[in-house]
């Protein structure tokens, strides 16, 4: 098992009342799965994804990732864990505007202290694979949305993560670009990468092997 969430609660206090973002959420994810999280706005999809990605804390419950009890880990250890195994893809791409395509993809490797020549080879592979070699010296603002998301995915993949977390990866794209991205995810999944995506679109959800529905912070598995 890749990860397991048990009885996860997350809340915020506001005006003396407690609002639940996640309420008794359960989830088990095996390696190689492709999961789509769906639900209405405000149902806690992104929160769940961030909890899985260890970017956000939760208030109660148990979370085991590769048999490590995340709820007991210190911040630093947690950070190391997600840096090692998880890649993030965002709806708004979140590329660094001041860096070129090449440099954006290279950035995670810099933090991993990988040697220059190895970095070059890895980035070149990735550019090649996504057919964006010709765009490597362009800045994000010079790319279309679909191309930016491709770079975002390339950056997420460069460290060879076990798990990709994608928060509405096609939300800002037109349908054709969206389809291409979903095809790419499917292909990645077939190569063995576990994927969890948040989506509003039934059609995109169909790419996955399993759909999780969220309502008011609670998982309603179908």
């Amino acid at each position: 098992m890749l990860l397991e969430l048990k009885n996860i609660y997350k809340w915020v206090n506001s005006g003396g009342r407690r609002f639940y973002l996640l309420k008794d959420a359960h989830l088990q994810v095996e390696e190689g799965e492709f999961i789509s999280i769906m639900g209405p706005s405000g149902s806690g999809k992104s929160t769940l994804l961030n909890v899985i990605g260890m970017l956000d804390d939760f208030n109660e419950g148990e979370y085991n990732f590769l048999d490590e009890p995340v709820h007991q880990l210190k911040e630093k250890h947690k950070a190391n864990l997600y840096k090692e195994y998880i890649g993030f893809v965002f709806q708004a791409y979140h590329l660094i505007d001041e860096l070129t395509v090449y440099e954006n993809i290279e950035t995670p490797l810099l933090y991993k202290k990988i040697s220059g020549s190895e970095r070059k080879a890895l980035v070149a592979d990735m550019l090649d694979r996504f057919n964006i070699v010709g765009k490597k010296d362009l800045f994000p603002s010079q790319l279309s949305g679909g191309q930016q998301q491709l770079v975002g995915i390339a950056r997420a993949l460069i460290t060879k993560p076990k798990l990709i977390l994608a928060d509405e990866p096609t939300g800002n794209l037109n349908s054709k670009q969206g389809e291409e991205i979903m095809e790419l995810f499917k292909q990645l999944n077939e190569e063995g990468v576990t994927i969890i995506q948040v989506t509003h679109s039934e059609k995109n959800a169909e790419y996955g092997s399993r759909i999780i529905n969220l309502l008011d912070g609670t998982v309603i598995e179908k």
């Binding site: 660094i96 290279e106 950035t107 991993k112």
Partner: protein
């Protein structure tokens, strides 16, 4: 990794040129200021330290507890050096230095020079490099002269001139002096600066006469054996002095009827290096550049202010701008960067900005240095930068600035949580008290300096426009030492033949002080002038009772005196006319007061008017002539005066000054400080304002949506202006509230040192407040107006 950081930093600078410009400009101004002042302070504290055994060199000084010389006194006479060093085993040797004036012949011209009279062992105590000649023997022979390379060039056109002859005026004739050595130019940071050294000649019999213990007019330096306790030497020399001078002192007290003479001064040693910045025991009498340490303090404070304000800009702008960078920070954390790496990155960026600012600052310093030299009376050069200590100082300054400006933003920025920044949930939390207090601090400092500038300006114009009590306009002063009454009359009659010359008066050179006895046995000190009959009318001084000197009264010449009102007050006279003042002993020393003149400011307004007494004694020579001329045709009149002077005194160098200009020069220090403080104030307010400008830009950016919504809902341009400006103006107002009382306190303290000073009330503070608020408002509204006029659709669409 560093390449990546550098790239990001560089592209960020390029992307937001305005922000980088503000940061770099502000910082470089601050740094340039700090560098200049480091140069200045370094120069100040390095004075005289170049002498190889400087720690063993002391100057003999004394302190009088009462009498005319009351207070500390840097001067000594002929006797102190030889007696003290002979009888104190800890003292190695002594050198006496006396400033002098001598006329030299250059071709056919007579040139006045200021040589130093020194003892022959001058070069064994002081480390001045000698280019040609033997430093040990060059001052042994009378009529030998040691000159600097500059003077050698001036007189001979070359530096290798040992054995050549210079013509030096002695009495009325020129005598040949042999050049025995040529020295390098004295260092800039030397209190002893000379172009000419002459061997000191002590009149015969001087050393045997104990009265000379009380005749003090030169500087005596002694060098002590290494590691000697100065206190014990002080005791020894005091004992020597008491045993030698006690009897004479008692004799004086009896002879002049003044008990103060019997109270002996205390002699002690002043470290040579202490001299330059000592206000009580300054470098004088041939020693140069005595300075007030206050200047170093004021300058350092200004530099610190400016640098601090520039750093605050950096911090505020970087933190405020971090909203824009927050996304990048989030991404970096998500893709694997940890906090330490982010801190390093942001420090690196501030390092880069600081480095650019630093480079610009060096350029600025080079540009400003001539102006600064002029202002501070120094000859500082950028080559000083190659001094290792100073270089180290600059590097430290650079690193401290980088850390000061970069560390806080780096800490704040690196703390952002990616989940906040990446989901547009991010706002700068809290009330931002730090940013606000920093803005308050900036404007407090700036307003404080502006108050200072206002006060200094007012005080200065007060001093320069003050009614001196006499008319100093159109008066030409011509120097001639030892001008006898007859010579003066001849000169005057020649001058008066020109209708453009109104009146000519003679007086002693400079200002003398003496003491006299009034009311039978009361002795006090006063300023003393020996003048011609025409002096009072020439200067248009009011005679309030009695009459001026007159040649019609035969007794006026030797036995009449005029006094000023302060004199009358001090003497306690109800009826001053006919009172007797004893200046000397016997009948000859008695003067009868024939008139009282209105108090006038004969010396600088930095001093209260002292009691003053005038005589017209024909045996006393004059030192200068005051010539009242008619306005218009000034240059013709001046050349007439010159030719008349050359005719009368062919061997004396001619030079003239205008009295009102000389008077203005008394306030040169004030004028310079006025300018320096003005620079400081303008600089601080300018840097504060560019910081404020930057903050407004960022604040407006952050509030673009809010402003858009307000406009859609019907807010007018004025409403928006108000909303954007209000917060900043509030901060500036708080700063003013803090700065005003502070400014009031410090200004009052400063004014206390002036006996004649302005009274300043609330008007100054109101003007400063209005000025600062206006400048701040202008800065803010420039940007605010831009958003107020912008189309709200744009800002609302960007979501």
């Amino acid at each position: 990794m560093f390449k990546n950081y550098f790239k990001i930093a560089w592209r960020n600078i390029l992307r937001s040129k305005g922000y980088a410009f503000i940061n770099i400009l502000g910082l470089s101004l601050g740094l340039a200021c700090a560098m200049l002042i480091m140069l200045y302070v370094k120069d100040e504290v390095s004075y005289d330290k170049f002498h190889s055994n400087v720690d063993d060199i002391y100057r003999v000084v004394s302190e009088y507890s009462s009498g005319m010389l009351q207070g500390k006194n840097p001067n000594t006479g002929y006797l102190q050096g030889p007696y003290f060093s002979e009888n104190t085993p800890e003292i190695n040797e002594f050198v006496r230095i006396q400033g002098a004036s001598k006329d030299f012949k250059l071709g056919t011209d007579v040139v006045p020079e200021q040589p130093l009279n020194v003892d022959p062992n001058f070069f064994s105590m002081f480390s001045f490099p000698v280019l040609y000649g033997n430093p040990e023997t060059c001052l042994q022979q009378p009529k030998s002269v040691v000159i600097s390379e500059d003077l050698a060039i001036k007189y001979f056109g070359k530096t290798s001139v040992v054995g050549e002859t210079l013509m030096v005026k002695e009495g009325e004739d020129f005598e040949p002096y042999a050049v025995t050595a040529v020295t390098k130019r004295c260092p800039q940071n030397s209190s002893i600066k000379f172009d000419i050294l002459l061997p000191m000649t002590v009149p015969e019999g001087t050393l045997a006469n104990n009265e000379n213990w009380f005749s003090i007019f030169l500087n005596t330096f002694v060098s002590v054996k290494p590691n000697v306790k100065v206190e014990s030497v002080n005791n020894t020399i005091q004992n020597i002095f008491v045993s030698q001078a006690k009897e004479t002192a008692n004799m004086f007290a009896e002879k002049y009827g003044d008990k103060n003479f019997a109270i002996l001064p205390t002699y002690s040693l002043q470290p040579f290096t202490d001299m330059h910045l000592n206000k009580e025991l300054p470098a004088q009498n041939g020693l140069r550049d005595g300075s007030n340490p206050m200047y170093s303090y004021i300058l350092s404070a200004i530099a610190l202010f400016v640098l601090l304000i520039a750093c605050i800009n950096f911090v505020n702008l970087t933190v405020a701008r971090s909203v824009r960078r927050s996304k990048e920070i989030g991404i970096r954390k998500v893709v694997g960067g940890d906090r330490k790496q982010l801190i390093v990155q942001f420090l690196g960026e501030s390092f880069l900005l600081c480095f650019m600012a630093f480079a610009l600052a060096v350029l600025l310093v080079q540009l400003i240095l001539p102006v600064f030299n002029d202002l501070s009376n120094k000859v500082l050069a950028i080559s000083y930068l190659f001094d290792t200590k100073l270089l180290l100082g600059f590097v430290t300054l650079f690193i401290v600035t980088t850390l000061l400006a970069g560390f806080y933003p780096a800490l704040i920025l690196s703390k952002y949580k990616p989940v906040d920044t990446l989901y547009s949930r991010f706002v700068l939390k809290g009330k931002n008290y730090l940013q606000k207090s920093l803005v308050v601090l900036q404007f407090t400092l700036a307003s404080f300096l502006i108050v200072g500038t206002f006060v200094i300006y007012k005080q200065f114009s007060f001093l320069t426009n003050y009614d001196l009590g006499y008319d100093d306009s159109n008066i030409v002063e011509v120097q001639k030492y030892g001008m006898t009454t007859d010579q003066f009359s001849l000169f005057k009659s020649k001058l008066m033949s020109n209708p453009n010359i109104v009146e000519v008066a003679g007086k002693n050179a400079g200002y003398m002080g003496t003491s006299g006895v009034v009311n039978g046995d009361e002795r006090f000190g006063f300023a003393y002038e020996n003048v011609s009959e025409s002096y009072i009318p020439t200067l248009n001084i009011n005679v309030v009772s009695g009459r001026n000197f007159s040649s019609l009264y035969a007794s006026d010449a030797a036995h009449s005196a005029l006094v000023n009102e302060s004199f009358v007050k001090k003497a306690g006279w109800q009826n001053p006319l006919g009172q007797i003042v004893k200046l000397g002993t016997g009948e000859d020393g008695k003067y009868t007061v024939i008139g009282v003149v209105k108090d006038y400011h004969f010396s600088s307004l930095n001093q209260l008017i002292q009691p003053q007494l005038f005589t017209m004694h024909p045996d006393n020579s004059f030192g200068k002539a005051l010539i009242k001329i008619k306005p218009g045709n000034v240059s013709e009149t001046l050349s007439f005066i010159e030719s008349a002077f050359k005719e009368t005194f062919p061997l004396t160098p001619y030079n003239h000054t205008f009295m009102d200009e000389v008077n203005k020069r008394n306030y040169q220090a004030e004028a310079k400080w006025k300018q320096i403080v003005l620079f400081g104030a303008v600089l601080t307010i300018f840097i504060s304002c560019i910081g404020l400008f930057g903050l407004t830009v960022l604040s407006v950016e952050k509030r673009a949506k809010e402003i858009g919504i307000r406009k859609v809902l019907g807010a007018s341009v004025n409403n928006i202006l108000g909303i954007v400006s209000r917060d900043f103006i509030k901060l500036v107002s708080i700063a003013l509230v803090i700065a005003m009382p502070l400014g009031w306190l410090v200004a009052n303290k400063w004014l206390e040192s002036y006996p004649y000073r302005i009274m300043f009330g609330w008007q100054i503070f109101v003007s400063v407040m209005v000025l600062v608020i206006l400048v701040a408002l202008l800065t803010v509204s420039f940007q605010a107006l831009k958003v107020a006029l912008a189309n709200p659709v744009k800002s609302l669409r960007t979501e």
